[in-house]
Amino acid sequence: MKVKLWGTRGSIPSPGPETIRYGGNTSCVGVTLSDGSLLALDAGTGIRCLGLALGEEPTRLHILLTHLHLDHIQGLVFFAPAFRPQTEIVIWGPASPEASLRDRIARYISAPLSPVEVRELPCDVSFRHCPQAEWEIGSARIRAASVAHRGPTLGYRIDDGDSSLAYIPDHEPALGADLDLLDEDWISGFELARDASLLIHDGQYADAEYPRHVGWGHSALSHSLAFARRTGAERTVLFHHDPMHSDEFLDRLGGEASRRWQELGGEPGAVGLAEERAEFELPARAREAVAPA
């Protein structure tokens, strides 16, 4: 499984010389499964560049949306493959009692916010509510579960062979809770991230910023580290950077994250900050031999 970060920013695109290394595009992660199937996790402005990288070839792609806040869907109408009839796109997302996934996305892809309507997209696009049970896409088993954020929001787990990717970009698991004290079954998102090869997790705020943002649906650094430690993820990438955070700020935050992770007993280099265009290859791990009875 290959993973590439096309957009690492939260809330609003923040391009400029001060964000050039960590990136200014909003949430989008490209995943190539071991059988070649393509996934995009969220469709923030980063998906525009993912679309350009796919080229002109006929494409079948699954887009897995965590939720419908603008920083996770804004790139949909700028995703070049969506404007080619030979493209097939399946968009997955959270169900809502209020309206279908298609109708909720159409509020954005429609006048006056968009020059095109969903029905005008030349590609073959379909919309599916994520099931409660695990399902398969290509060589992967996909699991979606509700996580603590504002409004109906999912996190995803993708298991491909023995590798696993957990993607929980918008998450406030410590809202009203102490992650160090709770039993694991009472921690939002725990099962998605348990022992994941790679955890991509909300890391929007420094600890000093969090008191002014309690209930906004995002994590402070301490929360992200506690969640990573409790779930046993092998590697954690802190994602969804606050638009106010410059490269210089994030360098300091990343240094603090690394230091505190090691103080918690973690492996050096196992926690880092998401950088736009960073790539990860998750090899199939060797299964542990089972001792005879």
Partner: protein, 137 residues
């Protein structure tokens, strides 16, 4: 351990911050949490008691009707909320571990989600304490 539904997790987090005694049951009617205020009323913190089923709960705390008879499990507001997916209200008496009895009004409401009922919350309003127990602050 199976992951709890998010709605139960959020309910527990909210209840933890309340000073009103509050109880949480899962979709099977098993008591999975009560808050500190409830613990003060019962004389036992949740962390000491842990998850309990209806039988054990009844033996420990009741509830009892006005004549002192145990109220059947099926008649409790929490059970009605979970099984029937509707709010329910009742008045009864419970016993705490320190020997005191508390007359309470109880309001229960179901936790309904897109995937059906995930459990219920009951809020206890103590109206009178009898006996020598420490009771609620």
């Amino acid at each position: 351990m199976t992951q709890r539904p998010l709605e139960l997790i959020l309910a527990r987090n909210l209840m933890s911050a309340l000073s009103t005694p509050a109880f949480l049951v899962d979709e099977g009617g098993v008591l999975v949490f009560y808050n500190e205020a409830a613990g003060m009323m019962l004389g036992k913190r949740f962390e000491e008691l842990g998850t309990v089923g209806a039988d054990e709960w009844g033996q420990l705390f009741g509830p009892f009707d006005e004549s002192g008879e145990p109220i059947p499990y099926d008649d409790l507001p929490l059970v009605a909320a979970v099984r029937e997916g509707r709010p329910a209200h009742a008045e009864f008496e419970i016993h705490s571990t320190d020997g005191a009895s508390h007359e309470v009004e109880v309001s229960a409401f179901p936790i309904l989600t897109a995937h059906g009922s995930q459990g219920a919350i009951a809020v206890f309003w103590p109206t009178r304490m009898n006996g020598d127990g420490a009771g609620p602050a």
